[in-house]
C-alpha cells in the first residue's frame, strides 16, 4: 500500500498546481470549453492556461499558441482534441517537460484498428518521457476538496469521502447530483477510460492512501490486471473498505461493456472469485454501491451481527425483520434489564420484542431518543435500525395546534427538526454503535435530510438498509480475516 498520495504518479492528475487546456475555446458548446468552465466554477485556485491556435483569450483567460509560450511548465495537461491532434498535443507536453495528462478525446482503441494505433502512440510518448496519463476516451477527474473538476458537468454538493474509480465517465459526472441528494460526495473520482497508461488498479492505490477517502467505490466493466488488482485491494482492505459494482456479469452486460471500452469482461463467477479473494464487497447496482458507501463511510464497526429494529408500524417492522432473516443477520432479544427501563415508553398495545413496536408514536422524544438510548446501551445489541415517519407537515401542524403564530411555524419546525436530527446523530458518538434509519418518505423531508447531513445513513425502505448493514458487517469480518 502507498504511504501517502504525494508519492503517487496520480497525485498531479488529481491535485494539479496548474492546468493547461487543449480544446477549450470561446464556443460555449465545445466540450473542452465546458470542462474549463467546470474547473473555474468550482473555484480552482491554480493557474489555468488555455492553448488555442487563434484566440488571444479563451473564456476570459489569456490563451497561448503553444505550450512553449506558457510562462511555467504546467502540472497537468487536459486534452480535449480529436484523436490525431491529441497525440500531437501529448508529444508537445512531453517535450516541454510535463509529466501528467488527461486525454479526454475518444476515437482510440474503442474505435477500431486505426484508433488502436494512435493509442499505442500515446503510450509510447508517455513511456519515452516518463509521463503518466489518464484515458484516452475518458471524462477526467474530480477532486472537490481541491476545487478540481475537469469533467464537462458542474460538481454539485459538498466534497465527501467516497473515492471512485470508474470505467464509465457517466458514473463520475452523473453521480454528482445523485450523491448530493443524500448529502454524500466524492473525495476524488477518476474516469479511467481506455486505461492505456493509468488503470483502475493505480486509482485504487491512490485512493487507498488518500486521506479524504473513507471508502473506495469501483465501477468495473473488466479488470485488466487481475493479480495486481487482488494484491492492491488486499493491502488496502485492512485500512478502508472497497466496494465494486461489476456490469459485465451477464453475456449481455459483457457485450455492452465491450463496445463501450473495448475490454473483454469475464464470467460472473470469475469476478465473484476475484472480489472474494480481494476482500472487495460486491454491490448489485450503482445505487447499491453508494448505499454501501453511505454505511461504510459513516458508521463505526459493529461488534457483531445482532440488529435491533425499532418501529411504530407493524408492516415496516415485519418487512425489516424478514430482510434481516434473508441477510443472515440476527435479531437478539432485548435484555431483561432494558425491557424494564423501556416500560414507561411502551403503550399496552406495544411490544418489546424485536422488532420493538410501540404501535403508535406518542412522543417523538421517546421514539427518537429515550428508547434508542436504552437499546443502544444494551449489550445484546450491535446495530440499531429505526423506522422513520416524521413528516415536516405534521410537525408544522403540531406547532400550529400549540398556538405558535403562523409566521413562525416554518422556522420553528425547521429548527425543531434540525435539533432532533442532531440529537439522534449524536447517539452514534455517545454509544459507538452503528445507527441506521429507513423511511418511505421523500428524502427532502427536513428530518431525514438533517440525519443525512450529519452522516446517519437513511435508506428508502428496510431492504436497502439491511443490505447496507450486511455489507458493513461483512466488511468488518473480512477486515479481521485479512489482517490475521
Amino acid at each position: 500500500m502507498l504511504k501517502s498520495i504525494e508519492g503517487s504518479p496520480l497525485y498531479p492528475i488529481v491535485n494539479p498546481r496548474s492546468v493547461v487546456f487543449f480544446g477549450a475555446s470561446n464556443r460555449a458548446s465545445a466540450m473542452g470549453t465546458s470542462q474549463l468552465l467546470s474547473l473555474k466554477v468550482l473555484g480552482y485556485q491554480g493557474a489555468v492556461y488555455p492553448v488555442h491556435p487563434k484566440e488571444t483569450t479563451v473564456q476570459g483567460l489569456p490563451a497561448y499558441r503553444h505550450i512553449r509560450d506558457i510562462p511555467e511548465i504546467p502540472d497537468l495537461a487536459v486534452i480535449v482534441l480529436t484523436a490525431p491532434l491529441a497525440c500531437e498535443a501529448l508529444e508537445e507536453c512531453a517535450e516541454a517537460g510535463m509529466k501528467s495528462a488527461i486525454v479526454i478525446s475518444g476515437g482510440f482503441r474503442e474505435a477500431g484498428p486505426e484508433g488502436a494505433a494512435m493509442e499505442r502512440r500515446l503510450v509510447e510518448t508517455a513511456k519515452t518521457h516518463g509521463m503518466r496519463f489518464l484515458g484516452p476516451n475518458c471524462i477526467g477527474v474530480a477532486n472537490p476538496h481541491q476545487q478540481v473538476n475537469t469533467t464537462f458537468l458542474r460538481y454539485e454538493g459538498n466534497p465527501g469521502f467516497i473515492g471512485l474509480a470508474s470505467q464509465s465517465g457517466s458514473y463520475v459526472t452523473q453521480m454528482f447530483h445523485y450523491l448530493s441528494q443524500f448529502s454524500l460526495g466524492f473525495s476524488a473520482a477518476f474516469s479511467v477510460g481506455n486505461e492505456a497508461n493509468v488503470d483502475i488498479v493505480d486509482c485504487m492505490e491512490y485512493l487507498g492512501a488518500c486521506p479524504h477517502t473513507r471508502v473506495i467505490a469501483l465501477y468495473i466493466e473488466a479488470i485488466r490486471r487481475g493479480r495486481e488488482f487482488v494484491e492492491v485491494a488486499r493491502s488496502i482492505v485492512p485500512h478502508k473498505p472497497i466496494v465494486a459494482y461489476y456490469a459485465g456479469g451477464s453475456e449481455m452486460g459483457r457485450r455492452a461493456g465491450f463496445s463501450h471500452t473495448g475490454a473483454m469482461a469475464g464470467p460472473d463467477r470469475l469476478y465473484d472469485g476475484v472480489f472474494r479473494q480481494s476482500g472487495v464487497l460486491r454491490a448489485q447496482s450503482m445505487t447499491e454501491l453508494f448505499d454501501f458507501c453511505m454505511a461504510l463511510g459513516n458508521l463505526p464497526p459493529p461488534a457483531g451481527r445482532r440488529v435491533m429494529i425499532q418501529t411504530h408500524s407493524g408492516g415496516p417492522g415485519a418487512a425489516a425483520a424478514d430482510a434481516c432473516g434473508r441477510a443472515g443477520l440476527e435479531l437478539p432479544e432485548v435484555s431483561r434489564n432494558a425491557v424494564e427501563k423501556l416500560s414507561p415508553y411502551i403503550p399496552p398495545t406495544g411490544s418489546t420484542a424485536n422488532p420493538l413496536d410501540i404501535t403508535y408514536s406518542r412522543n417523538v422524544m421517546d421514539y427518537f431518543l429515550k428508547i434508542p438510548k436504552v437499546l443502544l446501551a444494551d449489550d445484546a445489541i450491535d446495530i440499531f435500525l429505526f423506522y422513520i415517519l416524521m413528516p415536516s407537515d405534521m410537525v408544522r401542524a403540531s406547532f400550529r395546534d400549540l398556538g405558535v403564530p403562523s409566521e413562525e411555524v416554518e422556522e420553528k419546525s425547521e429548527s425543531f427538526l434540525n435539533n432532533l436530527s442532531s440529537y439522534v446523530a449524536h447517539l452514534r458518538e455517545e454509544y459507538g454503535k452503528p445507527l441506521v434509519g429507513f423511511t418511505y418518505r421523500s428524502f427532502n423531508e427536513r428530518f431525514v435530510a438533517g440525519l443525512l447531513e450529519q452522516g446517519i445513513p437513511v435508506y428508502a425502505g428496510p431492504e436497502r438498509a439491511i443490505r447496507a448493514i450486511q455489507a458493513l458487517v461483512r466488511y468488518h469480518e473480512i477486515k479481521s480475516k485479512i489482517r490475521n
Copy 2:
C-alpha cells in the same frame, strides 16, 4: 369473479353513502377524531354522524347519544373505541339494522385469550345479523375516487389505479405520500387487520371487479384461506394483474408478522408455490410491489421479451444490458432498415447496437423523439427502455444562452419540459408498445415528473426498471396461460 362491485358485501365499506363514527370527539389527539377529519378533509359528500356519550357537536357536526337517535340507518359504522366498547357498538349497529362496519380498535386476538374471546363476540354479532365488518385491529379504508378515507392520515396525491389489500395498516396510510412522489395513487385500499370477518381474499375479489383498479397489490403476512386465495386470484388474473409482497418468508419475518396480526405464516417456498399457482407476481419489497404496479397499470402488453435500450452514456447502458441479461430478457439487434433511418441522429462515436448509445446528447428532440420513433416502429423491438438525464438546470441555462429574458426563463423551461414529456408520453399511444425510463436524478425534476404524471414509468436506476419490465412480460405470459 365478481361481475360488479355493487354486488360485493364490501361495497358499502368502501363506498358508503353515510358513515356513523364511534370514538371521534372534540379532542384533537384522539385517534377517532383524526379519522373523522381525514374523511372530511378529503371532501366526502355523504352524511357523517358522530356518536358521543356527552358532546352535542363533534368537530362541528351534530353528535348523537345513540345510533337510534340518527335520522337514518347509516351505511357504514367506523368504530374506534376500546375493545369491549367496540363489541357493544357493533351490537348496537346490528340491532339498528346496519349491515357494514369497520372495527379499527385493537386489543382483540392479537392481544391474548381475552381479546380472542371478544373477537369471537364480534364475529357472532355479525353472523347473527348478516353483517360484514373489516378488522378489528385495522386502520380502515381509502377510496379517493369517492373521497372516502377512514384512516388517521390524510390522503395525499390524486386518486389512482392501484387497488391494495394489506395486512398492515401502515402500508395503507404511509403509502399515500410514497405513491404521490411517483404520481401514483390508490383506486381503493383496505387494511384488513385481524381478518375476523372480511379477509384479503374478499378484498381481492372486490378489487377484481372495481372499475378504477387496473392492478391489485397485496401486502401479506399470512394467507388464511389458501384454496380460496388461489381460486379467486386465478379468476382475476386473466383480467388484471395481481402483485404480492410476502413478509413472512424468513423465520424472523414469520415471528414479526405473528406478533403483529396473530396469524402464522408459512415457509417461503410454500408461498412461492401458492403465488405461482395463482398467477400472482411476487415482489421482494413494498417498493418493488409499487414499481411493478407502475408498469403493469400504465403500459400496453408487450408482444414479447425483446428490449431496446437507448442511452447517451456507456455506463448506464452497460448496467441496463447486464440487468436485462440477468432477468432473462432479450436485447434484439436493430433491424437494418431502422439502422439506416437512425444514421442522421447518431454521431460517429455512437453505436446502433443494443444498447443504442449516441455517446452524447446533441439534440434533445433527436434523443427523446426522433430516435425513439424509429426504434418503436421496428418490428424487432417489443419494449423500449431509455436513459434520462435531463436536468431542469441545463434547460434553464440553454434558454439563458439563447437570450431569453431572465424573468421568463423559469416559465419557458417548465413549459418546454412539460411539452417534451407529453410528446414522449404520446409515443406509447402512437406505437402501442411499452415505454420505460430510468434516471439517477431526483424525481422532482420537471421532465421526470411530467413523464410520471402522464403515466410513463420512470425508475431510479436500470435494475428497478428491468425488474418491472420483467414483471410486465411475465404477467402477459401468465395471463395467456391461465386463459387457455
